[in-house]
């Protein structure tokens, strides 16, 4: 349960805020001028806050949609990302969000219409070309669906823009809203998975693998495009057997040939993120493993990384089509 709700005075009476507050009415409410007052101060402990993060209801003033970092995307020429939330309800130790912000509070932006205007404008700037909009960069796209009703707004928006594509990246099973809609081929729901051992050790609060496979299957049956993300693959003594088990579990229930896209990458963080998160969790084995610094990125030593990717790729290719495979390329 969240510890309290902060709400920006400017959006206190916004219809989305009122609906959110109806659901959060049992929590103490604190009015603030700007979410940064609570979210940005340095003297906060992410680890302690993560126990019961507060909800911050806010207005995103600028930068609603941004160009995606190089290497992020599914091969399209025009890639953008947007975040209707900051931070995630899950607590995955390997996630770059662990070291991204000072605060673990969840920021929910309510001015969806401003995001929509920007998406329309960007799509118009690239008229006739497919433009990808990624929504799961600073948050899990679907995890907070009951609160945010994100898909209710953004899927019809994308449906109305001929050259717009959207990726929803998630570890959640909150697909009820999507199942009530007409499927749209230009919306891809990408489910992230780690093997069962890594899931148990590192993905705190994340629905079980079986539940997520169930959600994936229901979306496919309803006609939605679905993708798979094995990113990051984390090293442990039995990662090979565990990865094979995961694929067996997945592909006995999902037809690998019908997937829109599958991506794979090993664990990596920028040096700054790695430092921050390893300071927060000094007891975490993931950060005590043998690592290698290359061009500001901390990752496994090259031979280990190569071995992991080659093994996982070979296993994946037994189940999926080559066209759907997108390796995560981040080396120079």
């Amino acid at each position: 349960m969240a510890s309290c709700v902060y709400v920006e005075t400017a959006v206190r009476h916004h219809p989305r805020t009122l609906r959110l507050l109806e659901r959060l009415h049992k929590l103490p409410l604190i009015e603030i001028d700007h979410y940064g007052e609570v979210f940005n101060p340095r003297s906060q402990n992410f680890r302690l806050q993560k126990k019961n993060p507060a909800v911050i209801i806010a207005h995103k003033n600028k930068g609603q949609v941004l160009a995606a970092p190089e290497g992020y995307g599914l091969g399209g020429d025009y890639n953008y990302y947007f975040s209707h939330m900051l931070n995630c309800i899950y607590d995955c130790r390997y996630c770059f969000l662990q070291g991204m912000y000072q605060s673990a509070h969840q920021v929910l932006f309510v001015n969806y219409e401003d995001f929509a205007d920007r998406i329309r404008q960007i799509a118009a700037d690239h008229a006739g070309q497919p433009v990808w909009f990624y929504s799961g960069y600073d948050c899990d796209s679907l995890a907070n669906e009951p609160l945010t009703r994100f898909t209710n707004f953004f899927i019809p928006l994308i449906a109305g823009i001929d050259n717009a594509w959207m990726e929803l990246r998630t570890k959640s099973t909150q697909i009820r809203g999507m199942l009530k809609m007409e499927p749209l081929a230009r919306v891809v729901t990408a489910f992230s998975f780690s093997d069962a051992f890594s899931h148990g050790k590192l993905e705190h609060g994340v629905p079980t693998i079986a539940k997520r496979i169930g959600a994936m299957r229901r979306l496919i049956e309803a006609g939605w495009s679905v993708g798979l993300r094995f990113d990051p693959v984390v090293y442990h003594r039995d990662y090979q057997a565990a990865f094979v088990d995961l694929l067996d579990q997945l592909f006995t229930q999902v037809d690998g040939q019908k997937l829109h896209s599958v991506s794979l990458g090993s664990f990596r963080l920028t040096r700054d993120h790695f430092r921050r998160v390893s300071r927060l969790y000094p007891e975490e084995p993931l950060f005590a493993q043998s690592m290698h610094l290359n061009n500001g990125i901390i990752s496994y030593p090259l031979d280990r990384e190569r071995e992991m990717i080659q093994f996982c790729e070979a296993q994946l290719m037994k189940h999926i089509s080559e066209q759907s495979y997108q390796p995560c390329e981040w080396h120079d």
């Binding site: 604190i30 906060q44 806050q49 442990h236 000094p282 084995p285």
Partner: protein
Amino acid sequence: MLIWVCALHCEAKPVIDFYRLKKSQDRHAFDVYRGDDMVCVVSGIGKIASAAACAWIAASYPGETSFAWINLGTAGGAEHQIGDLLQLNQVVDADSGQCYYPAPVAVSPLSGSACLTLSRPSEDYRSDTLFDMEASGFMHSALRFSSAELVQGLKVVSDNRKQQTGKDRQRISELIQRHIDSIHRQAEALQELDRELAALEPAADSWQQVLLLAHFSQTQKSRLRILWRYLCNRDFSTDSLLRQLATLNSARAILETLEQISFRDSEGL
């Protein structure tokens, strides 16, 4: 360690009595009462006094790895009943406009309130906020030493539009004393968080022992601390590690050995 910061002795008295804190007999800039992993400092009135007391008491415990803080005192509130206990969820300094947000880690059983810190006493009551004379100074200073989750303000309403307790010290102590069980529960929750953070740091004695094994450069010392902290948190026996390291003859060999142990351990996640 939990630090109580109170402006007046009469505000501190219920805490001193409840925890049986003993007055420090040393000559100090502020009156200090000590107990088991707990200290209470009496700052005097005003935000500057409160900030100074926080800085002074933190500096007087250089070996402490983590502090939790509670500013306990009285406040005015237009609509509140005399004797209400409130937890501060926003503190605004009236002079600078600076806002501070204590960050509760759980839903508090206490009602919350904003608090406006003034430089002078005032009877200009506002309906949406408490006012006091210390909270912003306390927050400003305590947040230098601890994160916002470990800093709390608890205020008992001593004045409202209809009634003022004024300088009746016994009455102030009584108003706070009534809530001592709730105050104690807040303190316990805060201490638990504080202990959780403190436990992540290796025991000072084992850290000093490992440092004595060789001459470490600053870079080596940083790496050593990360490795030592990891292994201590993974419940390796520090005695047995120290015995193993004592046979090695250089800082580099010690670091390599600790790295190998960490790598092996971490491969099991």
